[in-house]
């Protein structure tokens, strides 16, 4: 038996892809369904999360959860101008704790350990050393590019230029990475509309688009005035 979702999802994908042809009601429907579903899921997940991690343990006697729940409720005072100041305490605590938690490990995990990758360890493996040397040059020159305390001329200027090119390499890689990722995401949808049962829906879609294009063409042809009409 065919799973109903195997029909609904390709229809949704085709409706979204129909935008490539032109803006149309099917695309609008798919767009609204997507936004509505995403919002619905987000809301239900947020409620579930609050119940699971806050309300349920509190009712079971975990009193330590009372202060964070109260602080969470106080955030809603932002909807009134008079009591908006109360929400600042919640946000202050949130930002303070967040910064404190994330600060731990910044130096050891993301700075000290990474230094090892840009310092060549001579005598191990030649290519690793070359790689590390390139990393080192790129890291150093990019840092020089962002030093504005002195003029970028002479040797410093050359190094800043190397830094600029290094950044261009990074941005280029990043951009290609995004193309790679977006194509990968699109392939999920493309796979659905080119394999059964989606392929049958695609054929119907192609027939609809072709019929619409032909209709449009004939309509345009009939509305274009003949050469002699306008003169007469």
């Amino acid at each position: 038996m065919v799973d109903l979702w195997q029909i609904i999802i390709p229809i949704e994908v085709l409706c979204i892809f129909s935008y490539f042809y032109r803006d149309n009601p099917f695309y609008k429907i798919a767009e609204h369904v997507f936004i509505g579903t995403a919002t619905g899921i987000a809301l239900s997940v947020a409620i579930q999360s609050t119940i699971l991690t806050g309300v349920k343990p509190l009712l079971a006697g975990k009193i330590s959860l009372l202060p964070p729940i109260v602080l969470g409720i106080l955030v809603f005072t932002r909807i009134t101008k008079k009591w908006i100041w109360i929400s600042q305490y919640s946000f202050a605590l949130l930002i303070g704790v967040g910064t404190g938690v994330s600060s731990r490990g910044v130096v050891s995990a993301t700075i000290i350990r990474l230094i090892g990758t840009v310092i060549p360890a001579w005598g191990t493996d030649m290519w690793s050393n070359v790689e590390a040397l390139i990393y080192f040059i790129m890291a150093a020159t990019i840092l020089i590019y962002f030093l504005f305390s002195f003029e970028h001329s002479g040797a410093v200027g050359y190094m800043a230029t190397i830094g600029q090119y290094s950044m261009m390499v990074f941005f280029g890689q990043r951009y290609s990475g995004y193309i790679y990722s977006f194509t990968s995401n699109a392939l999920y949808g493309i796979g659905l509309i080119f394999t059964p049962p989606g392929i049958y829906i695609t054929i119907i879609g192609i027939i609809i688009v072709t019929a619409d294009a032909l209709l449009q063409y004939s309509r345009n042809k009939s509305t274009i005035p003949e050469a002699g009409d306008s003169a007469g």
Binding site: K56, P57, T110, E131, G177
Partner: protein
Amino acid sequence: MIYILVLGIPFIRPIGIPLQISEGTRDMYNALEALKPGDVVLYAWTIDLSAWSELGPGMVAIAAHILSKPDVKLIMVGELATPLCYERIIDTIRNTISKDLFGKEYGKDYCILMTAGGESGMKAFMTDIRGAISYDFYLNSLDDLPVMEGVRDGKDFTIAFTAITSAYQPHIRQIVDLCNVPLGALMMGAVAFGAMPYYKAGVLFSVMAGLGSCAEYELLTYKGPAITRMDSLSLSAVMVVILMIAANIKFYSTKVSVKVESDKDG
């Protein structure tokens, strides 16, 4: 439209472009292959369903690989919609790889947990699991789950895996730095290369990049949809290169013709 049609061809008639296993994928496979009975794996704060189309196949293959190991516990923890993603992983394994889930049972061999509070919640969990949460995703008390026996904090995990689209630094800070648990990551293609220094420095024991790595992992373990999609992805790369060359030729030919015309006028 032509682009979509061309990418659709391999789904109708697979080309079978060969895949080479990358270093990051190999490291992940070897690390999970080396798991011994009694080990506890943390499946940590991965993506929700938003990036499923790119990373889903890899997440399924890795979870299946872990579950296939006898007497290895799997603790899946996430925030907001992530547990829904874990449910989908389990369902996909049941439907496509192993109907009886390698004989694994919920609560006994694996479980799904939910935290809140972002990195603060992550830290609280890794410091004291029962202090941070009391129930699993289905509102069972943690004390009633045999899988959680002997698992008190982050240090009780043998190895950790995550699949993420952008912010991997919190995972490094709270899993690797705080608890010294080896962490491997499957990342979106766009961000994976930015994480390579962490891999080279040994902070992450593996970095897998996008759909390509998912296909490689499927090739090493259980064949799945990523392998089929790789034909299309390779074809898309060829098409992008051809279009770039064509656009550059057009650009320079237009530039030359404009220059010739302006020279004539001048």
